[in-house]
């Protein structure tokens, strides 16, 4: 969990975008990269296949600057969503401080969302982490597409615990910052 490095007076917080394949995790991160001030962001790296599917992870560091004497950074990661990349997903969850679950709102992806959510719980459990104790928010993505589930149904399927959730259209950026802000604030609050 959150590492406060007293030796170098740095705080690094790791936030991971999780969810089913092609749900919009990388697109959300790309939106963040495109919209934050270049002075505050580092280089975005994507370990992806030739067809731009995430193979291992995407990574984007965001620098909040020095806050009351501590250099503070967010490290944003995505995981590969495809079922067979579970080993990679598990590795990226190591040391996670906050999670954004990017659900695909399309009716045809309902099962994939649920499967991915179960997978998240299972993978966290292997590290002894409890999702109920980790800052967590959900994006109901692709709200601009036809044949999508109503939010209340998605909420019933994926968010019985009532964590912050947001309707998003990652391709346009709608709701992406709202979700990231919600989780980031919970993460810093958890440090106090």
């Amino acid at each position: 969990m959150s590492m406060i490095n007293y030796a170098s007076r740095e705080i690094n917080c790791k936030i991971v975008y999780y969810g089913p394949g092609l749900g919009g995790k990388t697109t959300s991160l790309e939106y963040v990269y495109s919209r934050v001030n270049p002075d505050t962001r580092g280089k975005m790296i994507s370990l992806a296949t030739e067809t731009d599917r995430t193979l291992f992870f995407d990574f984007l560091p965001i620098d909040l600057g020095s806050i009351r004497g501590f250099k503070t950074r967010f490290h944003l990661y995505t995981v590969p969503g495809q079922v067979y990349y579970n080993a990679s997903r598990k590795l990226i969850l190591k040391g996670v401080d906050g999670i954004i679950f990017v659900a695909d709102s399309q009716t045809s992806r309902a099962e994939a969302n649920i499967e991915s959510m179960h997978n998240l719980y299972e993978n966290l459990e292997t590290y002894g982490y409890d999702l109920n104790q980790i800052p967590f928010a959900i994006q109901y993505n692709k709200r601009d597409l036809p044949d999508i589930l109503p939010t209340h149904e998605l909420r019933a399927q994926l968010n019985p615990q009532g964590v912050p959730d947001f309707e998003t259209i990652a391709t346009r950026g709608d709701g992406v910052f709202d979700t990231l802000k919600a989780v980031s604030k919970l993460v810093v609050k958890a440090l106090s």
């Binding site: 590492m3 406060i4 490095n5 007293y6 030796a7 170098s8 007076r9 740095e10 705080i11 690094n12 790791k14 963040v32 919209r35 934050v36 001030n37 505050t40 580092g42 280089k43 790296i45 370990l47 291992f56 992870f57 990574f59 560091p61 965001i62 909040l64 600057g65 806050i67 009351r68 004497g69 501590f70 503070t72 950074r73 490290h75 990661y77 080993a87 990679s88 590795l91 990226i92 190591k94 040391g95 996670v96 950026g173 910052f177 990231l180 802000k181 980031s184 604030k185 810093v188 609050k189 440090l191 106090s192």
Partner: protein, 150 residues
């Protein structure tokens, strides 16, 4: 002890730079000259790469996985285990990863095991911890950085 150990090792081995990285990908300490190489990118990939190699080795053979060496045309990258929580990443430019260098990196990794946790949590604990108001200041900064009008 940790910083001093890294600096001495960097000098002795001729490394361009040495990073101590935690398993979540964050930089813990740096020695040497990163110059145009971004330590954050290097650390996130190095940490994930070492963990993936460790997982692969564990799947294939079991047992402990101590070092991983990349030998390139212009230099070498050596990754060495520092307990379960950290990785020592060393970049050599214009030099190869000789057996002696691998051995030296592995030894330092083993030496650091056990002291890193103590160092991270104890050093600097002189009353300058997170102060009252830090959370509010951080949250204000979050609002400033993640806003639609950039």
């Amino acid at each position: 002890m940790v910083r001093g150990g890294l600096q001495e090792y960097a000098k002795r081995s001729g490394a361009r730079f040495v990073l101590l990285v935690d398993r979540s990908g964050a930089v813990l300490a740096v020695a040497g000259r990163p110059d145009d190489i971004d330590p954050l990118t290097f650390s996130s990939v190095a940490s994930a790469h070492f963990s993936a190699g460790e997982q692969l080795a564990s799947t294939l053979w079991g047992g402990e996985y101590r070092t991983l060496l990349h030998q390139g045309g212009r230099g070498a990258v050596l990754l060495a285990r520092v307990g379960a929580e950290a990785v020592l990443a060393t970049l050599f430019i214009g030099q190869d990863g000789s057996e002696g260098r691998v051995q030296e990196g592995a030894e330092l990794g083993a030496e650091l095991e056990g002291v890193v946790d103590v160092w991270l949590t104890d050093e600097g604990r002189d009353g300058r911890g997170i102060s009252e108001g830090w959370v509010e200041a951080a949250q204000e900064e979050i609002d400033r950085i993640f806003r639609e009008d950039g």
